[in-house]
């Protein structure tokens, strides 16, 4: 029998998700919705990284938006101020957050629990203040204008369908990469750290090194997302990279569930959908404002921690699994039932 689950990643899930992503733009009617779906892809990249950090390394980061901001601003400054090609600045947008994570990781390797939460929180605020105050480079609170578009052999990615596919190509790459990581030796080591750091370190797992690696990976993912965000919009401002941003990413991961990569993806999609829905509702009903969105996020965080500590995705997956297995057995049982099953689907 083929070994499943932990040992191997399933390509079926990836294939199904890819098809969904490919056909989604044809189901969305307005360009605003396409933009939202593009944002969902950018958020997915950050959330998957944060999910790895929280669910697999058992670390919390309340400053993930800072890495996202470092990625966005480094590419903005390099391309708009120094005229570098966006593809070259992508490397810097990944390397800069990674370097910061490396330095920060060394500081925080000795920190745990609440102390770690404090350190990442402090880091996020320091970066946000620097983005606002370092006006010579970042142009301050009013924002950085004039970021060029990404070009690829003469083709320009502009906001819309083409950018949607570009973002999701990166997002799928990140998802596949993350699935590979968690199904590898590193992934097993990480899971053991999450369950018991003491036990895994006594089994010879270098816990510090693995935690550091996953922290750097999560920063790199956030950097890629920042790069995509910067070149999508003509301008960026520090407001997108503050505490609210970090908490938004946290909400996505907590809602979806941090113990699987798909949980983070699911959370990012769901939060984007909720946010779009509330905004659409807000344009009709004056009572519903952007504050209402925050009330909703707060409520989601509390309810999920109390009732679904594992997150929504594992809960749904557990419900769906018997159904899928049932369908699978029916298929094997004979052609007639299989045809019936297809009709139902």
């Amino acid at each position: 029998m083929k070994r499943k689950g932990i040992q191997q990643m399933s390509w079926k899930g990836i294939a199904a998700f890819t098809v969904l992503i490919l056909i989604l733009p044809f189901l969305l009617s307005t360009s605003l919705m396409i933009t939202k779906a593009t944002f969902a892809g950018i958020y997915t990249i950050v959330a998957v990284g944060l999910g790895l950090l929280m669910g697999f390394a058992g670390q919390i980061s309340l400053g993930q938006a800072a890495f996202y901001g470092v990625g966005a601003y480094s590419t903005a400054i390099l391309t708009a101020t120094f005229g570098l090609s966006p593809w070259l600045s992508l490397l810097i947008a990944i390397a800069a957050p990674a370097l910061i994570a490396y330095i920060l990781g060394h500081t925080m390797a000795r920190l745990h629990g609440y102390y770690l939460a404090m350190a990442t929180l402090a880091f996020g605020i320091v970066i946000h203040v620097l983005l606002v105050e370092w006006k010579g480079f970042t142009k301050g609170a009013s924002g950085f204008y004039g970021i060029p578009k990404i070009e690829f052999f003469g083709f320009t990615f502009t906001q819309g369908i083409s950018y949607y596919y570009l973002v999701w190509a990166f997002a799928l790459l990140v998802i596949v990469l993350s699935l590979n990581i968690i199904h590898s030796r590193i992934g097993r080591a990480l899971r053991s750290i999450h369950d018991s750091e003491v036990a895994s370190s006594s089994m010879g797992v270098d816990t510090g090194r693995y935690k550091m690696q996953v922290f750097i990976i999560s920063a790199m993912f956030a950097g890629i997302a920042g790069w995509l965000f910067a070149h999508m919009s003509y301008s960026i401002s520090p407001g997108s990279f503050g505490l609210d941003g970090s908490i938004l990413f946290l909400t996505m991961v907590v809602l979806g569930g941090s113990t699987s990569v798909w949980g983070a993806v699911f959370g990012a999609l769901l939060i984007t959908a909720i946010s779009s829905f509330v905004q659409a509702l807000g344009s009709k009903i004056s009572f519903i404002t952007s504050d209402f969105e925050h009330v909703l996020y707060g409520l989601i965080l509390m309810l999920v921690v109390i009732f679904l500590p594992q997150g929504l995705f594992p809960a749904i997956a557990a419900k769906l699994k018997p159904l899928l297995e049932y369908a699978g057995r029916k298929k094997k049982a004979g052609n007639i039932t299989a045809v019936k099953g297809d009709q139902r689907a």
Partner: protein, 292 residues
């Protein structure tokens, strides 16, 4: 010289507020091992509810006491409805839970009071006092007096009363405390109520200085949390020391370097200190394990 004195005094003023907020963190943490990141929202509620009550024409002292009572009720409710349900969750989940509560309260506040700042009258006259060339508003003096009174009051409550003894028993060993007929559940509720009361007091004394708004709790909460961590999680003297230190560093940084950079300076200092002493100034080494 006059500048230094001025910065020092404004640093001690804001530092006193951080110290009160930090004491709120310690109060809850010592009994429940929960870090309540909604602590800053109690401060905001203190300022905003006071504003609403004063607007209704209620006399200052009555409004003052009513505000404290209302915020204490909210803190008690928070424990009863939400925190108690999640007992046994790990530190990560508890942090997320209280962040959720904070966002929720803040969102409701912005729907009730709007996004603008409001003005609350000072306790007494507004005539500044001059000391060594520095200007001190009477309200700053009130803030420091309140901080000292709260420290003294908490000390008496925790060290000298039967209630305080039960409180300490729960913080040392909840199981043994239960065997001695002390209910850790009741103490948990009590700690949230007490901490909410402290937050409300902080909000009430600072309101005339900073023009409260719905989002003032974010930074005050985070700074109070920093002060707690800076002093060493779980240590009350550490919380006061951490709060005053953070306030003074922030104020000196704002005065001599750049006012826009003050938060970066304060948090940069916290990061540096955690690098050198991962368990805070007065924390015990074993508390460095995340305080759990």
């Amino acid at each position: 010289m006059a500048d230094s004195v001025q910065f020092l005094i404004s640093g001690l003023t804001i530092g006193s507020i951080y110290a009160i907020v930090a004491l709120g963190f310690v109060t809850i943490y010592s009994v429940t091992k929960v870090i309540n990141l909604a602590q800053g929202e109690f401060v905001m509620l203190g300022g905003m509810i006071m504003f609403s009550l004063l607007k209704l024409g209620i006399p200052y002292l009555i409004a003052f006491l009513t505000t404290i009572a209302i915020v204490i009720m909210i803190g008690w409710l928070l424990e009863r409805t939400i925190v108690r349900k999640a007992k046994g969750a790990d530190a990560l989940s508890l942090i997320i839970l209280t962040i959720g509560a904070a966002i929720f309260i803040r969102g409701i506040a912005s729907m009730v009071w709007g996004k603008g700042s409001v003005k609350v009258d000072s306790f007494a006259s507004n005539e500044p006092v001059y000391v060594m060339g520095a200007t001190i508003t009477p309200q700053s003096i009130w803030v420091m007096v309140f901080m000292l009174a709260i420290v003294a009051g908490l000390f008496l409550l925790i060290e000298k009363t039967m209630l305080g003894k039960a409180f300490r028993a729960c913080s040392v060993n909840p199981v043994a405390a239960r065997l001695m007929a002390v209910s850790p559940k009741k103490m948990s509720s009590f700690s949230f109520a007490l901490s909410a009361g402290l937050g409300a007091l902080a909000g009430l004394v600072i309101a005339p200085i900073i023009f409260p708004a719905y989002d003032m709790g974010v930074m005050l909460g985070i700074k109070g949390f920093s002060a707690t961590i800076l002093g060493g999680l779980g240590s009350a003297p550490g919380a006061v020391l951490g709060g005053l230190l953070l306030g003074v560093i922030e104020s000196l940084g704002a005065g001599f370097i750049s006012s826009g950079m003050k938060d970066a300076i304060a948090f940069g200092f916290v990061l540096m200190l955690l690098l050198i002493r991962p368990y805070g100034l007065l924390g015990e080494k074993n508390v460095g394990k995340g305080g759990l």
